[in-house]
């Protein structure tokens, strides 16, 4: 009887799909696994013909590549770049959230002259590709004498309309009754925002924050343009510089690439559901 149940379950199990998915997932994971596997090999074994996954002896496994990259930098200091990235991404995300919460609330709840026209302008700005802003914004940043400063990385990012749009749409769905109650209790609009609307918008704000953080962390084109001093570089552009310095030391180069990828991947593992939801929300943007 029990054998029959087990057999039935085995027959029902979607073997074809499972095997197919496993093969695909292995293919997708292999570049990352390959990077990790080789970053912990001794330098002399990283390049081998034919390529090998494991070191010659398992005891050859070593963290030397990471040690050299972190503590004895020969060219660019990735620890410094890591700190730069962390600073820019954190401060930038906090500012984007504050600015967008205030504006999103105004668009969702306050009545003022020209609100709808202004909001239409914000939505229209979402279809403008950032490439046409590259040159004029570079000139602006150059005039402000912000080249090679964190200002150049943070402030232009506060102009994006996506967060305002996202939060406005979300706040429209927050029930009015709670705010009316707060108003009766004598709360002004700011305190209503702070104590009623903000806690209810936690989900949307977290989504925006994670997305903004990843955007800052991984941005390449704009930082590559406005930063060329090694001490101010964020990780993505530092890594390109680093590749120039370590052209022949693949093990250390891969350790550097792994170090810059790890924080984003860890964030992904922790907040995966939220990130996946935020991709869906960004999809709505169009």
């Amino acid at each position: 009887m029990m054998q029959l149940a087990i057999r039935r379950r085995l027959v029902r199990f979607p073997w074809v799909r499972f095997v197919l998915l496993s093969v695909l997932a292995l293919i997708w994971a292999s570049p990352l696994l390959w990077m990790l596997a080789n970053s912990i090999k001794p330098e002399s074994q990283v390049i081998s013909i034919p390529p090998r996954w494991l070191p010659e002896r398992l005891s050859d496994w070593t963290f030397d590549n990471y040690r050299y990259v972190l503590f004895f930098p020969r060219g660019i200091d990735l620890v410094q770049s890591f700190l730069n990235s962390l600073f820019v991404s954190t401060v930038g995300t906090v500012l984007v959230v504050i600015v967008d919460v205030l504006a999103g609330y105004a668009f969702a709840r306050l009545r003022f002259l020209g609100r709808d026209v202004l909001f239409a302008l914000v939505v229209a700005s979402l279809i403008v590709p950032s490439e046409i802003l590259l040159i004029p914004n570079y000139i602006t940043v150059w005039r402000f004498q912000w080249l090679n400063t964190y200002n150049a990385l943070i402030f232009p990012a506060l102009a994006g309309g996506f967060g305002v749009f996202l939060l406005r749409q979300f706040m429209l769905g927050v029930p009015h009754e709670l705010e009316d109650a707060a108003a009766i209790d004598g709360c002004g609009s700011f305190r209503t925002l702070l104590w009623v609307v903000l806690p209810l918008s936690r989900g949307a704000i977290a989504t925006l924050a994670i997305f903004t953080f990843l955007g800052f962390w991984n941005d390449f084109t704009w930082p590559y343009l406005v930063i060329n001093e090694a001490s101010k570089m964020t990780l993505p552009i530092a890594l390109i510089q680093f590749r120039g310095d370590y052209w022949s030391e693949y093990g250390q180069l891969l350790a550097g690439a792994a170090l810059s990828a790890l924080p984003a991947i860890s964030l992904f593992l922790v907040a995966q559901r939220m990130i996946i939801r935020s991709i869906t929300l960004t999809g709505i943007k169009g």
Binding site: W34, P236, T280
Partner: protein, 308 residues
């Protein structure tokens, strides 16, 4: 009667003036909320659109004053062979990448959508590459694709396919960039497809199964029509995104070999910031915008039609 009329009029006047003062107060307080955003929005989003248009009508190297030259930059663009090369490469990338960037994520989404053990792990494997910066992707794949000690050729030869000098051969270089892009970005469209699949009612499948529909027919007659809106959206955004391709190519090949992977955005970048010809670069940028806008308008048109 007339006194009643005048009181009601006075009342209305008082109400109106109160409304006005409230409106004025509201305008001021709204401005306080909006000011932080509007300042940056104006400086870095609205102003540059018009300023960029102006720059495209000038000859300017940033060291001397800009010279107004009318439409000369656009005329020069039509004779710029490197621009046409970049445009051809970009169109080639769009043509190769778009079908794959739809079919691959759609396949993954359909496979992952139904309950299966380890579903979360599979989904993570396909979406994790999205989290990595383009530089890490570049470093990793340049080495992965290395003809002598890279894994791709090793496995390709193991199953009988000829190895390639991926990044140093015109033609194959763009294919290599495209493979990398599909690996890197498929998770994004897969997530959008998964969201679309959730919208399709389970009952439709049950009903079709009772009618004896096979796996393919279920996909063909229920899944695909059910994903119509998602497919439209994904299709158009993927076309637009592919037109804007730059960073992964730049990091992997620098546009080579022999400009065979140079894209329009790289042309903007180098015209502007290597040769400091701001006017020419802005003209290229606006041409790209025109192409992207065309597809955005097509998207809106299609979306509206699919709504009705």
């Amino acid at each position: 009667m007339s006194s009643l009329h005048s009181t009601s009029q006075a009342l209305r006047q008082r109400q109106a003036s109160r409304l006005w003062s409230r409106l004025a107060r509201n305008n001021w307080s709204a401005l306080l909320y909006l000011a932080p955003f509007l300042i940056f929005f104006a400086i870095f989003q609205i102003y540059p659109i018009f300023y960029g248009l102006y720059v495209s009508l000038t000859k300017w190297d940033l060291t001397t004053a800009p010279q107004f030259v009318g439409l000369n930059n656009f005329i020069a663009l039509s004779r710029d062979t490197l621009f046409w090369t970049s445009l051809r490469n970009t169109l080639l990338f769009v043509a190769m990448n778009v079908p794959l960037a739809i079919v691959v994520p759609l396949t993954l989404a359909v496979l992952v959508n139904e309950a299966i053990p380890g579903r979360a792990i599979f989904r993570s494997a396909f979406t994790a590459p999205l989290m990595i910066s383009v530089s890490s992707v570049g470093v990793l794949w340049v080495w992965f694709l290395n003809p002598t000690f890279g894994l791709i050729n090793h496995y390709a030869e193991a199953i009988g396919l000829p190895g390639q000098n991926w990044l140093t051969q015109s033609g194959w270089a763009m294919v290599a960039v495209m493979i990398t892009t599909v690996w890197w970005t498929s998770g994004w469209n897969m997530v959008l497809f998964l969201a679309g699949l959730q919208e399709i009612s389970e009952q439709l499948y049950d009903a079709a199964k009772i009618d004896g529909a096979g796996r393919w027919n279920l996909f063909r007659y229920i899944t695909l029509p059910g994903l119509r809106t998602t497919l439209l959206f994904v299709g158009v955004t993927t076309v637009i995104g592919s037109f804007r391709v730059f960073a992964q190519v730049f990091v992997m090949t620098g546009g080579g070999p022999f400009d065979s992977t140079r894209t329009v955005v790289q042309h903007i970048y180098e015209t502007g910031f290597r040769y400091f010809r701001m006017g020419n670069a802005s003209a290229v940028a606006w041409s790209l915008f025109a192409m992207v806008l065309l597809f955005t308008l097509i998207q809106f048109r299609l979306m509206r039609e699919s709504d009705t």
